[in-house]
């Protein structure tokens, strides 16, 4: 029975756990509930992956009403891949959250934090798994609202402005998405994605459908922080609690990228449509600007968390670069980087969270000599940093290999050169942290530091381990990404 209802359980388990956390109002109990629910969601994602590999697309009828009358959950290789990433990151972070959150909040606030965490997880999983356009909007709202609150619970008062800015930008994005969905509904009379994909090709070039596509594109691009719509991201990630930054950096933008792919490829009919729009060229340009501009800005940040946030904008540029090729290898690179970047950036934010936990600051000048006092944390940071810039043997290399390969396939060697140069800029900003952490004399404050407790180290090092494991063993990440890419191009759903 459980296998049969896995699609519903995937989302409903964290959804049920969230109000439970708010009911018990005790930090420790809420944390235990969150731990169970998030790992159960991860298990559900693995179970779904096995089922999809075994039997192909799974359709689940919510409320027992057949689509398009009712809401359908539709799981294929594309979204089960994203489910795996989101629930995996969500599960690994919860053990870390215990100490990090308990250090700062009272019992009730802790319970509320976990409520929000579960709601954000619920929303993101719900957006990914659903086969219904309006349902996407509803669950996007759940995850967004919960994210705003999780950001506003930061230590620095500036987190409030950051959350408010994200709230305004995110709401504009959501409104644009709902306008797009509304126009599609007016033209087709259906909200079901599969049904839309059947009906849209014949009315593809009518004005309302094109306007719908424009609104969806801008709305989703806001959510995925595509340059220049990324302005909400740096402050939000910089001033949010470490747990929030790690979770959102690993999941939220990834789900938005999935939505982008789903609408362009599945709903609007595969490669054939995407390449007729001017979007590949625009996306290529914006991706390149993001890769360089955001990386260069990252170099000049004095707050290391803010530096990592700008790095996220640049890395999203790498992902959208892969999408802009509109080829199987390009999409494989993009999907693989969704997986790989989630691991790397979540890990980096957790490790810098250790520094914040012990030192109380993440200003780069305060971190002088910290490599000697917190050797394990900083070793992990360097390892993930190496991965981020694409050292062979790490996940970062795998992503960039496929992104480069896709460029070579099209004979665009200059793009390969640009990818390499962008990686060199990554080296500069990671190198700055390494230089300060290892080659400077510890300040008085740093010399009294001790290594972070194991509860904070272990979850972070699970991600560090994953960054190296999947850097060698690529059958899961690249293998699935490749199959998903071919499904996307053929608009199979």
């Amino acid at each position: 029975m459980i296998a049969l209802h896995l699609p519903a359980l995937q989302v409903v388990l964290p959804l049920l756990a969230a109000p439970l956390c708010a009911l018990v109002r005790r930090g420790t109990v809420a944390w235990a509930i969150t731990l169970i629910a998030s790992w159960a969601a991860f298990a559900a994602a693995i179970g779904l992956l096995l089922r999809v590999l075994d039997e192909g697309i799974i359709s689940y009828e919510m409320g027992g009403w057949a689509p398009p009358i009712g809401i359908e959950y539709r799981v294929d290789l594309i979204n089960v891949f994203v489910l795996l990433v989101v629930s995996g990151v969500g599960a690994v972070i919860v053990p870390y959250a215990r100490k990090s959150i308990a250090a700062r909040f009272g019992s009730t606030e802790q319970a509320w934090f976990y409520t929000m965490y579960l709601l954000a997880l619920t929303g993101l999983l719900g957006v990914t798994i659903t086969g219904d356009a309006f349902n996407i909007f509803v669950f996007l709202e759940i995850s967004s609202l919960a994210s705003y609150v999780m950001i506003a619970m930061g230590r620095d008062r500036r987190c409030l402005t950051a959350a408010y800015q994200y709230l305004i930008m995110g709401t504009v994005g959501a409104t644009f998405i709902v306008i797009g969905v509304g126009l599609l509904w007016a033209m087709t009379g259906t909200l079901n994605l599969y049904d839309l994909a059947q009906r849209i090709p014949e009315i593809q070039n009518t004005r309302p459908v094109l306007a719908a596509l424009a609104f969806l594109t801008v709305g989703i691009s806001l959510k995925l922080a595509l340059f220049p719509l990324h302005l909400w991201l740096p402050n939000a990630y910089a001033f949010a609690p470490s747990v929030t930054s790690a979770f959102l950096a690993g999941t939220a933008t990834k789900v938005a990228i999935y939505l982008f792919l789903r609408f362009f490829y599945t709903v609007f009919g595969g490669e054939g449509f995407f390449v007729t729009t001017p979007l590949p060229e625009i996306l290529l340009l914006l991706s390149l600007v993001a890769m360089f501009a955001a990386s260069i800005v990252a170099v000049f940040q004095s707050n290391v968390k803010r530096m990592l946030a700008y790095s996220s904008v640049a890395q999203i540029g790498f992902i959208t670069l892969g999408i802009s090729y509109a080829t199987e290898t390009g999409l494989t690179g993009a999907m693989t980087h969704i997986f790989n970047h989630a691991i790397m950036k979540a890990g980096l934010f957790l490790l810098i969270g250790n520094v914040l936990y012990q030192l109380g600051s993440v200003k780069i000048e305060d971190m002088a000599g910290i490599g000697r006092k917190m050797p394990i944390t900083m070793a992990g940071f360097v390892a993930l940093g190496l991965s981020l810039l694409g050292t062979p043997g790490t996940v970062g290399f795998i992503s960039k290999w496929y992104l480069g390969l896709a460029a070579v396939e099209q004979g665009q060697w200059w793009l390969v050169a640009l990818i390499v140069i962008a990686s060199l800029v990554t080296m500069i900003y990671i190198g700055r942290v390494v230089e300060v952490a290892y080659f400077r004399e510890p300040t008085a404050q740093v010399s009294q530091l001790r290594e972070a407790p194991p509860a904070l180290l272990v979850p972070a090092f699970v991600l560090v381990g994953a960054a190296f494991y999947f850097g060698v063993e690529t059958s899961l990440s690249v293998g699935l990404a490749q199959q998903a890419a071919s499904l996307l191009l053929n608009a199979a759903y």
Binding site: P19, L20, C21, R104, L119, L145, A186, M187
Partner: protein
């Protein structure tokens, strides 16, 4: 409505802006009535014109009522707005004409709902059938959105205050208001219950009823003081009810799972499909009511509580309990 919008843009006094916003919402509700969307109109009137106006006023009690002067040139935002508006108009030009029977949206799933809703769910009000059963999962999502918003406000506001339980009312010495409110209260509450339970048959349901019930208590709180309202419905109870409503709704879905049906399938709850659906709709609407009403109250208490604190001791900048280093 156009006049109201320009009023909002021109006015620099935020009190005027809030009032204009309320007028706009109320006019929008009448437009909804004209479009025969009575359920939506009720929601818009209750939430848009009523509740959000009241909450905005509560916020104005805490901040200055004059607009801050602009620091940026408004030219670029204006261009972006014009472009967006242009795209929207461009997109609507070729939309099928309003209200024609052969429009795509009236051809596909809509006729199915109209024909089968009563037969399959036992609810004569098709809107309720779609909302609570056919697309009940969306409604569960919406209730969760409200739950998220409610807890979010609590996180941001009540985490900050724990002292200075003074009492202040927004309108203390107005005997006429006191008497009128006392007379109105039972009527509003009764109306809320009617809207709740009549939702199956006519316009209404958990959302509208929840807002109406909360409005009654909020009205009481505005006239007699938030402390008096808290004595009627204690804050602790409210904080328990917010998640409880979501649990009722989501739990009904689990009951379906346990009875060997899909999630949120109410049919096995009763002896026949129709009976099961009917019972299911009744339960989930109750869940909606509980979460909506308690969330509205919690937000009001949170804002009202802050206003009282501000009056009780004139200290404006309070350190947050949890933001202290």
């Amino acid at each position: 409505m156009v006049a109201a919008v320009f009023g909002v843009i021109r006015a620099h006094n935020l009190f005027v802006v809030v009032m204009m916003g309320g007028i706009y919402s109320f006019l929008m509700a009448t437009v909804m009535v004209a479009l025969d969307a009575v359920d939506v109109a009720m929601t818009e009137a209750a939430v848009g014109a009523g509740m959000s106006t009241v909450l905005m006023l509560a916020v104005l009690g805490l901040v200055k009522t004059r607009e801050a002067p602009l620091r940026h040139s408004p030219v670029i935002p204006l261009i972006v707005c014009l472009l967006t508006g242009g795209a929207l108009i461009y997109g609507t030009i070729d939309l099928p004409p309003f209200g024609r029977a052969d429009n795509p949206q009236n051809q596909h799933v809509a006729p199915y709902y109209l024909e089968n809703a009563k037969k399959e769910t036992g609810a004569p009000n098709v809107v309720t059938a779609v909302l609570a059963s056919y697309r009940g999962y969306d409604t569960l999502g919406e209730v969760t959105v409200i739950f998220t918003g409610g807890i979010g406000v609590l996180v941001l506001l009540t985490a900050v205050r724990r002292r200075g339980e003074g009492d202040a009312t927004m309108m203390r010495d107005t005997i006429i208001l006191r008497v009128v409110v006392k007379l109105l209260l039972p009527v509003i509450l009764l109306f809320a219950l009617y809207v709740q339970f009549h939702g199956d048959y006519g316009p209404g349901g958990g959302f509208q009823a929840g807002v109406a019930a909360a409005a009654a208590i909020i009205l009481y709180g505005m006239i007699f003081g938030v402390m008096a309202a808290r004595a009627v419905v204690p804050q602790r109870v409210v904080h328990t009810l917010i998640p409880l409503g979501v649990l009722i709704f989501a739990g009904t879905g689990v009951a379906g799972l346990l009875l060997d049906a899909n999630y949120l399938d109410y049919s096995p709850l009763g002896s026949s499909q129709k009976a099961g659906q009917h019972l299911g709709i009744l339960i989930v609407e109750a869940g909606v009511f509980v979460t909506v009403a308690s969330t509205m109250l919690a937000i009001f208490y949170a804002f009202g509580g802050r206003a009282e604190d501000a009056l009780a001791d004139d200290e404006t900048d309070k350190p947050d309990d949890w933001r202290r280093e």
